[in-house]
Subunit: 266 residues, 2 copies
Amino acid sequence: MNHSQITENIRKKQSLLCVGLDTDINKIPKHLLKEADPVFEFNKALIDATKEFAVAYKLNTAFYEAQGINGWISLDKTLAYIPKDIFTIADAKRGDIGNTSEQYARTFFYTYPFDSVTVAPYMGKDSVSPFLQFDGKWAIVLGLTSNVGSADFQLLNCGTEFLFNKVLQKVASWGTINNTMFVVGATQSQRLKEIRHLLPEHFFLIPGVGAQGGDLDSVCRNTLNKNAGILINASRNIIYAGNDAYFAEAAANEAYKLQTEMKRYL
Amino acid sequence: MNHSQITENIRKKQSLLCVGLDTDINKIPKHLLKEADPVFEFNKALIDATKEFAVAYKLNTAFYEAQGINGWISLDKTLAYIPKDIFTIADAKRGDIGNTSEQYARTFFYTYPFDSVTVAPYMGKDSVSPFLQFDGKWAIVLGLTSNVGSADFQLLNCGTEFLFNKVLQKVASWGTINNTMFVVGATQSQRLKEIRHLLPEHFFLIPGVGAQGGDLDSVCRNTLNKNAGILINASRNIIYAGNDAYFAEAAANEAYKLQTEMKRYL
């Protein structure tokens, strides 16, 4: 999926919402556990309930990997169930030396045909570049993350700038606005504006609204650009909004609420 | 497996060798492709051929993940086949926010019961700490990697030190020498001595000898400590030493050659 298709979907649906299907089998409604594939049944119901409001789905691979083979089967079925016009993200945070990153790119662009994969930048250019070689596919590189630990290294002063600034600029120079996005945490409200200033045209994937405490208004005011340019992820708030037979309705309500708020900025 | 067991194995086998089973199905001898699980048959033969000389096996998960479910089955069988007294490493380079890193720790310590997993440090303390909560299990955190791209960020000046120095010291302060190791590339020969000086007691996993150009003599002279303190990984040199019916013998020869060299330093 290319840059303008993502923007078009955002305009059409009047939504910036990415639903994070970070599905923990220990947190899903108990009645689903009798199903052959409870995680898929949960995801399927959530997709049906939220697809009207979502322009992207993000699957954090950790939750699937922890279930072994069954987890990968659930992931595969979930990915196949997502409507083709909705952008898909393998939130896998991979990165390795060149020949190995290439294997990861194959994993998440072909074996499991996601539109994009999140990538950790610590190992530098040859660890990121292999993800930039596929038409219509995206690397979403960690810039400034939403967690407390982001202060440990990302906010180190490297000369006149923070490390995350160096990462954003250098990684941006390796790709284009058509194959590179950045993860920028909603919780970093005091830095969102300077990050948008640094990279006026790139798409940002913005987690941290909701459970992690980020503020939607501050995110939208500081990072929207002329092509929208942001995907705002919400996971726990939506997928665990309810925990009974009506969990999907509860999720739909949360997604609708978020989309209604987002619409005001578009 | 604890620190002193690893050291004991090194003394007993007179070896620092970690064999990297980074098995690419496109590079294994053609006659294996008729087997039901070619990757496992290849690994099994390699383990049989090299276990006398190896104190650790490292499976780079990328090569397995790229094969989908079949890859995870091969990985699982390979891990189960490795003798229990040999240290095992899931070279997965994972790292995410706290609740997610916990899922990765479960994946590589329980779902697939490795002794250790490699971890990317960019997201800071809450992304690394979840790997440090399991008795006898290890996080092997990226310090200064062997690839060219290591210069992009790891060698940035952050105040009076390089970023990798900050990472080594900070991460070391979060764990102990019994649950934390560091990846230090053999190709970084001019920095090995200062890294050992910085962390006199930690184990280092040292890739980059062989195909990547690192020098065994320089590695041993600069990083061995009183408990040995290093595992030296070789992958492509060993596992692709031969490409015909005698590939396992060729691998055994390469492993034996490396072990014989290593013995001189122990």
